[in-house]
Symmetry: C2
Subunit: 281 residues, 2 copies
Amino acid sequence: MKEALAQADRNQKRLGFVPTMGYLHEGHMSLIQKAKAENDLVVVSVFVNPMQFSPGEDFESYPRDIERDYRLAIAVGADIVFHPDVEEIYLPGASAAVEVTGEMTRKLCGVSRPNHFRGVTTVVSILFHIVRPDKAYFGQKDAQQLIIIKKMVRDLHIPVEVVGCPIVREKDGLARSSRNVYLKPEERKAAVVLNRALGIAEEYLRSGAERNSDVETLKNIIRDEIESEPLAAIDYVELLDGVTLENVSTVLHGKEVLAAVAVRFGTTRLIDNRILSILRK
Amino acid sequence: MKEALAQADRNQKRLGFVPTMGYLHEGHMSLIQKAKAENDLVVVSVFVNPMQFSPGEDFESYPRDIERDYRLAIAVGADIVFHPDVEEIYLPGASAAVEVTGEMTRKLCGVSRPNHFRGVTTVVSILFHIVRPDKAYFGQKDAQQLIIIKKMVRDLHIPVEVVGCPIVREKDGLARSSRNVYLKPEERKAAVVLNRALGIAEEYLRSGAERNSDVETLKNIIRDEIESEPLAAIDYVELLDGVTLENVSTVLHGKEVLAAVAVRFGTTRLIDNRILSILRK
């Protein structure tokens, strides 16, 4: 990687970076395309990071296809695909870690995945140190991850601009995810309930503004819709401040609220989210 | 700082960095001089880092004299002196941290200063991200700090070469330290016992090689000498592997062993150390 960057003569070039766990889908493609549009040189990393999986999670079974990833990444504009081994990222005896402490990492996915974000911030900081990008691109689908990475970059003064990019969805509304391949056909059909429930809440808020801005009501709307789907088992339904992930009781004018859900379909756990806000009149 | 670096046109220049807590002494001077000899541009930071002090330690009373520091640093070759406020390094609400986990940070000074090294690794990584040096210079006097920073840089792939530099001593052997100013005259005299005790152990090892390489014996020699000084109260006397800080039972051929001591004189806690090894015949 270092040799490739040296050969690319990156001086005076803007370098965009898209860190991924591979098995690329349209969501990743949109990140790479945006990186290409905004930079002279684009690096895509493909690394399934063991540190962000808990024992019993799907690290071993996580889908991998580096040949396909390589072709797809290059096809949409990547200049370099970085595919390190685990032992190259975590050197023998490695014990250093980067973490964001506080409520932000303990809520939402932090409840069922207590060490997940510590693994994410550690690997992202390692990749930033190796690639040294000007800008790095992350999907809004992993909203909590995006917020935590922005916090890490700010707090540790890492010289990278973090860019969040919109969720890319299937035609029926299901958010693109490498884990969608786990779904059985009937689960795949049921999984559209995530986007549908978030859409109903958004529509309810829009139709009434302040009158319909109570967070408990909005949560119940989402929860009721998801529970109407027999194959769906809710992990969480939360509405939190869109920047700090602090608790909020209403959607206030000019504030963004993150509506985030995690739902299991059989053994597959999916997440989705929407930014809710009341437009100024 | 960022403007100063941009103005200095650092492209193609080697940048050396000496992070300090200020109140510069001959030890710091030697670091700055070495940095100047090996680089085109030298940055010295002066920042008393609150995160590496525990409640009840000497953060408030730590000696400060930025005017003098500035003059001294420039006089021996610094190009830029970086003296940030606490609020510039730790932005409002900052909660990210960098740590090296494991035995390495729990031994020696980690026993009486449990969060000290977490504060050190966090601030050093922040300063590295801001200054982005090619090489950074640290004193061997803080031997455990040097080992931990090297580990952090390696594990997190931080693109900085960490250079350790020899301890600089007063004429009577006392290691230079900003905290030496705390010592009352009789404590100042007594404090030479640290270097003397380490020297006696070194001489004992040298005089017998393998025959005198038992770590417990060497520790007792150091301990006995320090205890002969009534004003000295031992915090620790340890001999550990010089790279990993793992326990060792003998000084082996070709291995470096760190003999490290921490001793209180009144309210002042001083540290000193020596690398012990058996020369190959």
